[in-house]
């Protein structure tokens, strides 16, 4: 996915409470709605929780907008807010969501109807599913969203080296599960 930040950085506006500034925020949020949704689903794997987190992210973004000083890094800023909301909601709903996943068994076709290609996709999904949330998040940001390691580090609030390690470890785990090497 192309980096939206090149053309979407908000203007240097001293008055963040002005209607013009709020319109800028609304526009930026709309531009990043799909990114946030993909991130939240990769992180949470639960549709209702991800919807709640997305809504909360929008509210938090409006509240935090007057303090927004990261010109040109809106994607990292909004994903950091989304991650915080995801963590909060996951912590709150931890017991309720045990065993409920986005890719549950009901969506898996019967074995006799699975083609070789479908089988490959299913194995890929299962391999992704078994990653830890932090690793899955980092791999999604790097591979799907093509974030830089610095952005991943900003979003996950970790040093850049930790972000590199998480991506690398996540990829190794997926590869091992795809090849059947579970060491």
């Amino acid at each position: 996915m192309m980096d939206l930040m090149a053309d979407t950085s908000p203007p240097e506006s001293p008055d963040f409470a002005s209607s013009e500034s709020i319109h800028t925020l609304e526009w930026l949020l709309e531009e990043h709605r799909e990114v946030c949704w993909g991130f939240l689903m990769a992180r949470m794997r639960h549709v209702e929780d991800a919807q709640d987190a997305l809504q909360e992210t929008w509210i938090r973004a409006h509240r935090a907008w007057p303090r927004y000083r990261e010109q040109g890094q809106f994607r990292a800023w909004i994903l950091r807010i989304a991650r915080r909301e995801a963590l909060r909601i996951q912590r709150k709903n931890q017991r309720r969501n045990q065993g409920t996943e986005i890719w549950d068994a009901a969506e898996t076709p019967a074995p006799d109807r699975i083609s070789e290609q479908q089988d490959e996709v299913l194995r890929m999904h299962r391999a992704i599913d078994r990653l830890s949330p932090k690793e899955r998040e980092a791999v999604w940001l790097r591979i799907v969203e093509e974030c830089t390691f610095r952005e991943i580090a900003q979003i996950q609030r970790v040093p850049e080296g930790t972000a590199v390690t998480r991506v690398r470890r996540g990829l190794v785990h997926v590869k091992n599960r795809l090849t059947g090497d579970t060491k």
């Binding site: 689903m41 999604w140 591979i143 190794v172």
Partner: protein, 125 residues
């Protein structure tokens, strides 16, 4: 963009294309406009004034030196024996060292004035 070695492997491209589709993003409920700035400022000012009033009511005023020196009432002896009558046994006119127990010592300046003995003093003896 610098890539780690694992990213160069062909299956990583497959990973990107086969990542589970989260579906379309849901619509967001409109977020209410934040309160206008003057309202926020008004609340802040009201809270500050309230705190100052509360502090003024709650914190006791400091005692000044003038209050200490001027608030004392003038000294008045509790009982002033009538002139001419016998002194009350509760008062002792004498030195502090001679103060008997159970009696109240009066400072020298408050000593009871005793009238002169009656004219027939000698006859009474």
């Amino acid at each position: 963009m610098n890539k780690i070695p694992e990213e160069h492997e062909p299956w990583v491209l497959q990973l990107k294309s086969q990542w589970p589709d989260p579906g379309p993003a849901p619509r967001i409920q409109p977020v209410p406009d934040p309160a206008p700035r003057f309202l926020k400022t008004g609340w802040a000012v009201a809270a500050a004034v309230g705190l100052v009033l509360l502090a003024g009511w709650w914190i006791p005023r400091p005692v000044t030196a003038s209050a200490v020196t001027t608030d004392w009432p003038e000294f008045e002896p509790r009982r002033r024996p009538r002139i001419g009558s016998a002194p009350s046994p509760t008062f002792f006119r004498g030195d502090r060292s001679e103060e008997p127990s159970g009696h109240t010592f009066l400072p020298a300046r408050t000593r009871v004035r005793v009238s002169s003995p009656p004219n027939n003093w000698s006859t009474l003896k």
